[in-house]
């Protein structure tokens, strides 16, 4: 379970989150929506402990992430997979190498790396393009590689911060369907997005934020329909 208990976050004089409370069960698919500066990205960063809450608690699986020491943070992040808006792929390196990059750094054996990377690329539908470099892939395909990299370590939670921000509508829908497919395998998926259409189509839980506060928490994605 992911739990925010009366959580606030300040950056200098700017309030990014104000007394936020919510719970997410493991295996859920949750959208975080709201205008720029609403606090969506801050929530993501607090979950993977890129930031520490100014007050209140952020619990991930009963662990207060703010209390983790410097060397415990990587262990927390290994239970998560992060998908970036700008894909963050290594230029000039094949899709295989991009997905394998972190596994190599974690000391996974070459046989295991091959098995896991090909498995992840199969999930995202890029098994035919293992040798393609980011320059040879479309935006949607690049984000698929990014998702393959996020799931290759078998994370319990996938966090995607504006994963469709740089994509056209068709590719955006494909990416969301892919995240939904990953969610169906039991992985908790948290997505922050501006994309109203997709959120309405997906009919998942939507937590809407405005000026650092939760304005609605709707289980079936009716937020934008009623807007």
């Amino acid at each position: 379970m992911i739990q925010f208990v009366d959580t606030s976050m300040r950056y200098d004089n700017c309030v990014a989150l104000h007394n936020v409370d919510f719970e997410i069960e493991m295996g859920e698919f949750v959208f975080f929506v709201g205008p720029s500066g609403a606090g969506k990205s801050t929530i993501m960063k607090l979950i993977y402990r890129e930031e520490k809450a100014t007050s209140g608690k952020v619990l991930v699986g009963r662990i207060d992430v703010a209390k983790l020491s410097g060397h415990e943070v990587p262990k927390l992040r290994r239970r998560m997979g992060i998908v970036f808006q700008d894909f963050k792929l290594l230029p000039g390196q094949s899709a295989f190498d991009n997905v394998a990059y972190v596994l190599r750094a974690l000391g996974v054996s070459p046989t295991e790396i091959r098995k896991r990377v090909l498995g992840a690329l199969k999930v995202v539908g890029l098994i035919e393009k293992v040798d393609a470099t980011p320059e040879e892939l479309s935006g949607g395909e690049q984000q698929r590689v990014g998702i393959a990299r996020a799931i290759v370590n078998g994370p319990a939670i996938v966090i995607a911060d504006e994963p469709t921000g740089n994509l056209d509508p068709d590719s955006s829908l494909e990416i969301m369907n892919l995240l939904q497919q990953i969610n169906r395998r039991g992985t908790t998926v948290l997505v922050s997005t501006h994309n109203h259409q997709i959120v309405n189509q997906m009919r998942k839980r939507v937590i809407a934020l405005k000026s650092g506060e939760i304005v609605s928490d709707i289980p079936d994605g009716a937020y934008f329909i009623n807007e």
């Binding site: 993977y48 943070v73 998560m80 963050k88 290594l90 972190v102 750094a105 974690l106 000391g107 370590n153």
Partner: protein
């Protein structure tokens, strides 16, 4: 048991990757590697040569000091044996010889055609100290002895050598300190650029839960490697400098110090590691948030 083997294999793979990342960092730095090593090796060579000179001068002063003779002239009315016994009680005496005034006069008469006059010479004690640093304190103690008329020793020579050594030490250390700071600054900037260059990789590794040391170590190793390679180049330069110094010492029939080179080599490698690794560590601490 199999868990232990598995974990050891994983650690070995990670270590291998760290070295690989270091190699890739060096490859990315390109021509700048050579510039850094040349600058750092030049600085360490200057430092090493100065250090060698300081050590050799120190040894020279010590050797000269222990060879320097203090001549103590005994008063006519004093009991020479008593004065000699008093002097013998002083510490750090290497050698002490008593020359009676009769013996000295006889030897003088042998060497020079002297008229038959009354022996004007006093009883004399010639002494050597174990080290030059005990000369001044001993001289002061000797002056206070009642039976001592006067004494002689090559004060000016010792003072000059001491001053030269002290001056060389101060100049050498100041120059080396400034140059070491300059080198650290260059390495710090190079590692900073490299961190900027690897921003994307670092972010991916951080976000995917790769250990902090895996991210930091390649930069630190690169800095340390600059230090060690530069120190080895500087050791070559210092070898020739010490050989030259030894030749000068031998020409003037002065004793050379066999261990100078070894001491300088060890200090150079440690200095290289400190400056190279230190420069990288500052950059990692300042610019690499993990």
């Amino acid at each position: 048991m199999s868990d232990l083997v598995g974990s050891l294999t994983t650690e070995l793979r990670i270590t291998g990757r760290i070295f690989r990342e270091t190699g890739m960092g060096l490859k990315r730095t390109g021509l700048m590697n050579i510039i850094i090593v040349v600058i750092m090796a030049s600085i360490l060579s200057i430092f090493g040569a100065l250090l060698a000179v300081i050590i050799e001068m120190g040894v020279l002063v010590q050797n000269l000091g222990s060879e320097v003779e203090i001549s103590v002239y005994i008063k006519d009315e004093a009991n020479t044996q008593q004065v000699r016994d008093e002097i013998m009680k002083l510490p750090h005496i290497k050698k002490l010889t008593l020359i009676s005034k009769e013996k000295a006069w006889a030897e003088m008469q042998k060497e020079y055609p002297l008229p038959d006059v009354e022996n004007p010479l006093p009883d004399t004690i010639h002494m050597q100290m174990t080290s030059e640093k005990h000369i001044l304190t001993t001289v002061e103690k000797l002056k206070s002895l009642p039976g001592v008329e006067t004494l002689q020793y090559p004060k000016e020579v010792l003072d000059k050598i001491s001053k030269i050594t002290q001056g060389a030490s101060i100049v050498g250390m100041s120059v080396s300190f400034i140059l070491a700071m300059l080198t650290m600054f260059i390495i710090n900037n190079t590692i900073h650029l490299l961190i900027q260059n690897k921003r994307r990789e670092i972010e991916i590794l951080r976000m995917m839960g790769v250990g902090n040391w895996y991210i930091r170590l390649p930069f630190l190793l690169q800095g340390a490697l600059y230090g060690v390679v530069s120190a080895l180049v500087a050791c070559g330069a210092v070898y020739f400098a010490v050989e030259f110094l030894n030749q000068v010492f031998i020409t003037f029939q002065l004793q050379t110090n066999e261990s100078t080179s070894n001491i300088v080599y060890i200090i150079l490698v440690l200095m290289g590691l400190l400056v190279g690794g230190g420069g990288a560590a500052i950059a990692v601490r300042k610019y690499l948030q993990v």
